[in-house]
């Protein structure tokens, strides 16, 4: 790549697969459980996290030499919270409908452990450009899993995708439901997300045995 050196590209690409924040680092599970019952919510959350983590990593990285180590966690928390509130207020003024969709996620973004994790593990020790790439990479890695889980949970649990009925009508028994197929009500409750994430981890590790931890 001409734009990015090989190492920089790795910062973006690694978290998508071999160092994925959810399946490998096992961070951000809580929000993955909470909002993946619908594909649309997963996508909105992913975009929001890409923004907050990308910008937040840069801010923390720029401040890394002046942050007193004793209160660095609080400083990180303030940076995330401020960014999220700024985004929320601006959306409320200029994209009101979108801000209502995002309403439920604001708290989840602030407490998302991936964000604090990347600030602490990467941005405090690296320059702004690298931190930016790392933030985008990790947020995308998080988003990919969220979207996969959201896709299966909405499809199997509600028979819809993005709210659009793709399998027919479960009450009028049209489409696939005419054959006796039923929606799996288990898929829309949060524990189902754990099982889907578990299956993703299983598939990923059996494809790449190097990821399996030795006991």
């Amino acid at each position: 790549m001409a734009l990015l050196t090989k190492k920089d590209a790795g910062l973006i690409l690694d978290p998508l697969a071999d160092n994925n924040p959810i399946t490998i680092q096992v961070l951000g599970i809580c929000s993955a459980l909470a909002i993946t019952a619908e594909l649309e919510a997963s996508i909105v959350m992913s975009i929001a996290v890409v923004f907050v983590l990308g910008v937040g990593n840069v801010v923390i990285s720029l401040m890394r030499n002046i942050i007193p180590s004793k209160i660095r966690i609080i400083v990180q928390l303030i940076v995330v919270a401020t960014l999220v509130i700024i985004v929320d207020q601006v959306l409320k003024a200029y994209a009101y409908e979108l801000s209502k969709t995002l309403g439920a996620f604001v708290g989840l973004i602030i407490t998302n452990c991936i964000i604090m994790g990347r600030f602490e593990a990467f941005a405090l020790a690296n320059g702004p450009w690298k931190s930016f790439l790392d933030g985008i990479g990790n947020a995308l890695g998080y988003g990919v899993i969220l979207i996969i889980v959201g896709f299966f949970r909405e499809l199997l649990g509600s028979g819809t995708l993005m709210g659009y009925p793709v399998l027919g009508d479960p009450i009028l028994k049209t489409g696939l439901y005419a054959t006796g197929y039923e929606n799996n009500g288990f898929m829309i409750i949060p524990p189902a997300a754990l099982i889907v994430v578990g299956i993703i981890i299983w598939v990923q590790r059996s494809k790449n045995p190097a990821l399996v931890e030795e006991n």
């Binding site: 619908e38 002046i66 209160i71 509130i85 700024i86 409320k92 309403g103 709210g163 829309i188």
Partner: protein, 252 residues
Amino acid sequence: MGVNKDKNSYTVVFAALMVLVVGSILAFLASGLLPTIRENERFETQQNILYAMGVNENTADDVGSVNRIPTDKVEGEFTNFIKEQLVIDESGELTKNDQAYLIDLKKQLANKKKGKPFKLPLFLGEKDDKQFYVIPMYGKGLWDAIWGYVALDDTMTVQGVYFDHKAETPGLGANIKMRYFMDDFSGESIMKGTQYSGIAVAKGNNDPLNKTKDDNEVDALAGATITGNGVAAMIKESVNLYKDYLETIRVK
């Protein structure tokens, strides 16, 4: 840098400066954007009241989505369809008030609870020569507040509802603002005999298409028990708040 970052004084100064900087950024932003945000909220309230009484852009071939009157037209439509805005005070007295839709029901309910004077807004609408009485509602969901509007006719039959929520779970409780849930309420009666019993959100009423309109029940949302119960409680409480007024207009 010559400064010792481990010193307590550095930490304190840094924290103080950070609070000052972040605080001013947020304060400037909030006060700068407040008028725009307020206007958005005002339009939304008008949209919701109109939606409940059936003034919306829903089309027959797109039954999946909620289409409210666009924000650029809503103010005009609101004055067209809402003929009168009334306020009921603690003594049950009715007064006209053109700003009634701006009343914050949450505050009024809190006042009522504390025994302070309160004002309950009520909207009289007219569409296709039919009278609508639109009542605002406010209640609790699973995580936070839920609210909405219900439009009644003079037989106390629901003509339409609008629900919204602050932070219900996406895909579960958040579905109370979906068309298929809100549409179920139309045609149900809030009366059982002479009792203002509201409308229950029931599991297992064996009527997912909601064909029975005389059972005071609509089909619940799977996985959203508490939000559903919250909706039912909210409707019951709200119609009881307006009971005295509704008795005066009810066709017996």
